[in-house]
Structure formats: C-alpha cells, structure tokens
C-alpha cells in the first residue's frame, strides 16, 4: 500500500481520493454548520502539515506556531474590519471596536490594510520573513532541542500578552463581527461553503508542497540534519540554513491557515493563538504521527473533532482526556497513528523499510 502510494500514479490516486472526499462527499453529506466546523478543522490541519515538516522531518519542536497562525489571522482580520468600516461609513473610517474604545483616528499601521492585495502579500511575506530572521538568529547559534521548544513557546505566550495590551488590535476580546470577506457577504451560506472549499484547496496544495519537499534532495538533507546535525556541517553544509527553510515553510503554512480561519470562524483573539492553542496544534501532529505526511492531517482533524464532540458533553473532562491521550501516544506509539501499519508489520517480522520506520 505505502509502496504504491510512493509511485507517481499512487500519488495522483491519493490526491484524487482526498479531493473526492473534500470536494464531493463532505459538502453533500454535512450540514452547513458541520461543514463550517470541518473548514475550521482543516485550518488546524494546514498548521499541522507545517509542524510535521519542521518537527517530524526537521526535529524542531515548534511549540509556538500560534505566533505565525496569529500573525496571518490578525493581518486578515485587520483588512476585514477596515472593509466593514468602509462599507458602513465610507473610506478611512474607524472600525466599530475602535469607536467603542474611543479611538477617533485610524492608527498609521492599519492604513495599508485597506488594500486587499497588500493584505494578502503581507500574510504571505511578514510571518515568513519573521520566521527566517528568528530562525537564523536561533539556529546559527545552535540553539536546539528543549531550549528551542521553550523559546518558541515563550514567544507564543509573549505574543498573546502583547496583543491583550493593544487596544488598537482589539485587546483581550480580539477582532470579531466580520460581515464581508473580499466583498462576499459572510452571512450567505453559499459564501460559507466557498470558504470551506478554499480551506480544502489550500490543504491539498500545502500537502503537495510538503510532499515535494520530502521527496526532494532537500528532504533527505533535512532528515540528515535532524539525525546528525554536526555530521552535516562537516560535509560542508550550513545546517542552520537547512533548518530555516523548513521552519519558515511551517510558519508560512500556519499564517495562511490563520488567515483562512478568521472569515470561517468569525473571530480571532489572543485566546486562539497563545500557549494552549499552540500545544493543541502540536498534539494533533504527535497523535497522527509527526514523521509521516498524512499523519499530522489525520491527527489534527481527529483531535479537533474529539475536542468539539467531547467538550460539548463533558466540558471539564476533555482536558484530562487530552492529556491522557498525549501521554499514551508518546509512551506507546511514538510514531503516532501513522506508525500503526509499520508496527504491525514489525510484529509479523516482515522487513520494514527505512521510510516506513522513520
């Protein structure tokens, strides 16, 4: 099965089947409300693909993807708030939450986000550039392992606290009550479905990019850096640059996911991007299998679904179940759900290829 999927025909079959489910079966079978939930989960899955690349393949335990998710989300939210204000009160108007806070003048850094093109460019460039600079600063100094994990987690915490203090960014409440997404009315179910299709399409693209990276020479090099960074350096590579590419790619994925998340869910606040959500992103990847391509997607969807389903019925128990699940997976199945097939193969004493075991 995994042999077939690694061939060209297998790849197309896999993508075809995924497209059939996402674009065909899901919209047919799910109600508008459920489809909206799935769209939200797909955003988490997009983040998870990036974490799978940076952590599973690159060995960088990115505990702070909320930072990049939040950047993408807030950049998009700024544009949507400005578009709403413009629709109500004409160009240059102040968004409603600023009026309530007594701000009469639009802060300078908000102004360019009235442009849709600028906003999209900013979403694609700013978080990625930040990740490149941060990555260079950290990896050139050979900060890694737990130190890197703590640093990235602290960053997510600091970013959330910073935003809480910014009245011009909505403070603790964040940005919400959006009416339009690039001119499309968000109350219209058809447009809600369009957002779902965008999320599904982006997920497929992101998985395709991750697949190409994994199969390229760069993908092999990244695994080499993960397993023996020093050795790679003695072969003449700057290992820091290799890591930065994966880290920045993961950041870009998270930022795009955040940007799509905002119109789908209708709110972005510091509570969506701090330490706890960042750990949630990671949890799905760990459960699904960080080193595999599809494992993180499955894991992210499963965890998000379980959270929604279980927290409705047992609001207080979910957190414990989540912690328990994490412990069980790390202790018994470090390769995640994706490694079950390989584990049973090993059990039957069949030879396992390096790729399946990795």
């Amino acid at each position: 099965m995994s042999k077939f999927l690694s061939t060209r025909a297998g790849t197309w079959t896999g993508f075809g089947a995924a497209a059939l489910v996402l674009f065909g079966a899901a919209p047919l079978l799910l109600s508008g409300f459920r489809l909206g939930l799935l769209a939200q989960f797909l955003c988490y899955a997009i983040v998870a693909v990036g974490i799978g690349l940076a952590w599973g393949r690159g060995g960088m335990l990115t505990l702070g993807q909320g930072v990049f998710f939040g950047m993408g989300a807030y950049l998009m939210a700024m544009h949507m708030k400005l578009a709403d204000a413009e629709f109500r009160n004409g160009p240059g108007s102040v968004p409603d939450f600023m009026e309530l806070a007594g701000l009469r003048e639009l802060p300078g850094y908000w102004v360019p986000f009235a442009s849709p093109v600028f906003t999209i460019a900013a979403i694609l460039v700013l978080p990625t550039a930040f990740a490149v600079l941060l990555g260079l600063a950290v990896f050139k100094r050979r900060v890694k392992g737990a130190y890197f994990a703590i640093l990235s987690q602290a960053l997510a915490g600091a970013f959330a606290i910073l935003l809480i203090g910014q009245q011009s960014m909505g403070g603790f409440n964040g940005l919400s009550r959006f009416r339009y997404f690039f001119g499309y009315n968000l109350d219209d179910p058809v447009n809600q479905q369009m957002l779902y299709f965008i999320a599904a399409g982006v997920l497929l693209v992101v998985v395709a990019v991750a697949l190409q990276l994994r199969r390229s020479r760069y993908g092999e090099l990244l695994v080499a850096v993960r397993d023996a960074e020093e050795r790679v350096r003695f072969l003449g590579y700057d290992a820091a640059n290799v890591k930065v590419v994966a880290y920045a790619t993961a950041a870009l994925f998270a930022a795009v996911a955040g940007a799509i998340f905002v119109p789908i869910v209708g709110i972005i606040s510091p509570a969506n991007i701090g330490i706890v959500p960042s750990i949630m992103f990671l949890l799905g990847v760990a459960i699904g299998g960080r080193a595999s391509l599809i494992g993180p997607v499955i894991g992210a969807l499963a965890v998000a679904y379980a959270q929604t389903a279980l927290s409705e019925q047992f609001p207080s128990a979910w957190t414990y179940a989540q912690g328990l699940l994490f412990i069980v997976v790390i202790a018994l199945l470090p390769g995640g759900i994706a490694s079950i097939a390989a584990a049973t193969k090993r059990f039957r004493r069949e030879p396992v290829t390096a790729e399946a075991a990795a």
Partner: protein, 265 residues
C-alpha cells in the same frame, strides 16, 4: 608527488588554562597515510578538532587548494573548512541511520548544489557516488538503511562520504576501532588506495595496524610532537620508548599502546 596539502604551524588549544595541544607543527602530504599516535590525552583528537574548526586555537592551518592556492583555515566556520576539502570521521561512526547508503553518499556529494537542485527529486545517482560505492564495497547495500549496516561498513560509508565530497585531506579518528582482522586489512588497503592523490591522517591506537600501513608517523605526547618519521625511525626514538614505558619495545603482547603516564586521559 609528495606535496604538502595541509600545513599546521604552532597550534595551541587552550581549555581554560589546560593546554590540550601545545605548539604542534604538522604537515600532511598528498600520497601519504600519516598516522597520529600517542597516549590517551596526548591531544590527537583535539588537534583534529582544531583543524576542522570545532576547537578554538592559536597558530595557523594552511590548506593548499586547487582553486585558490594556500588558504588559512583558522577562524573559518566548520562548513566552510569542509568545503575547502577537509573531511573528517569520528571515533563512533556517524552516518545518517534513517537514510540509505546511496542517500548518505548523495548528500555528502552535494554540498555545492544550488537551492533549485536541492528542491527537486533525485533522478539518478551521480557517477561519483556510484564509483565510490564500488570503491568502499557497498554497491550491494545501496538501498540499505545505514543504521542496519555492520560496524565496519558504517566506517567505510563514512570514509566514502568524504570521498564523494571531494575532500583531499582526510582526518580519520580511529577508523578500525572494533573491526575484525579481515576488515582491518580491507580498510588499510582502502586507505592506501585513496591516499594516492590525497593526504590521509589516521588517529589510531592499534600498533600492528600502524606498522602495516603507515607511510609516516607522528607521535604526540602531552599536547606536543615527540617525534615524526617513518615507522622504524619513530619506534627507535629514545623519547618515544620512554613515554611508552613498560612496552619500551613497542611489540608488546597488547595491541593497544597503553601509556605509562596517561594522567590526562
């Protein structure tokens, strides 16, 4: 073609006041298998660390390169030094265990690849990789994950990774540690084979292996060079015999040269 590929002058490595290497001069010539021997703590591995950029030092290391002539390596980063043609192995073989033999060699051959080339899939193995795989006798294991190779094969793979990377100064740290008799013979012949157009330095404790395959020997003791010369010259050197007291004539029963004064080990 006895031409100096690497010239070290007055190398000093200072670990918080302790001079692990104390004023070493060393020349590695192409065409020679140059053994570095000495008691534990003599500074052999530290010297290799210094040359490859892992340990800070004073003095100078000059590499003769084809493109740029003589290049001073001191102060350069590890990966820049590697790109100037200095390759090293470690006491414990370090290969990429989750990747296959072919993938290991392909990575080692590719430090000069453009980002564009890196982002694409490998279509076929480069010729150098195929040739080196033959040379180190691992052609049959091309698709085998390096992690499940035999110990000796890992050492050969690591040497092969330096060969495909076009290193012409090879610094090998105990390449036959843990090998059986036949594997040692094979490794010794491999070293001479690759030394025809390269400089090979071998840090080793095994005296029989040294006697069989050394073109030149440098004895280090307490961070300084005690003697340099052919195997015979060095074994008859009075100071060398003194340092290896108890095995004054280094043909003692033990293969391992256990020093009398290895206090710094």
């Amino acid at each position: 073609m006895s031409q100096a590929a690497l010239t070290c002058a007055n190398i000093e490595v200072d670990f918080d006041g302790f001079k692990a290497v104390n004023g070493v001069d060393l020349t590695l010539d192409r065409g020679e298998v140059h053994f570095l021997i000495g008691p534990n703590g003599a500074g052999k591995t530290t010297l290799v660390d210094a040359i490859t950029g892992l340990a800070r030092y004073t003095g100078s290391v000059v590499k003769d390169t084809a493109e740029k002539g003589a290049v001073e390596l001191r102060g350069k980063k590890v990966h820049h030094i590697a790109r100037h043609g200095i390759g090293r192995t470690f006491q414990t073989a370090t290969v990429f265990e989750n990747l296959t033999v072919a993938q290991n060699l392909d990575i080692a051959a590719g430090s000069g690849r453009s980002p564009w080339a890196l982002l694409r899939r490998r279509k076929h193995l480069p010729d150098t990789v195929v040739n080196v795989m033959e040379q180190i006798g691992l052609t049959g294991q091309a698709a085998t994950p390096a992690g499940i190779l035999a110990h000796g094969q890992k050492q050969w793979l690591e040497i092969g990774m330096l060969l495909v990377g076009d290193a012409d100064v090879l610094l090998l740290d105990e390449p036959i540690a843990g090998m059986g008799h036949d594997e040692r013979e094979t490794t010794g012949r491999l070293l001479h084979d690759i030394a025809t157009d390269r400089a090979v330095a071998v840090v080793e404790h095994d005296m029989d292996f040294m006697r069989a395959f050394a073109s030149r020997v440098t004895v280090l003791h307490a961070g300084a060079v005690l003697a340099t010369g052919s195997v015979d010259e060095v074994s008859n050197h009075p100071r060398v015999q003194e340092v290896y007291l108890g095995t004054a004539h280094p043909t003692a029963p033990s293969n391992d040269m256990e020093p009398a004064d290895a206090a710094t080990a």
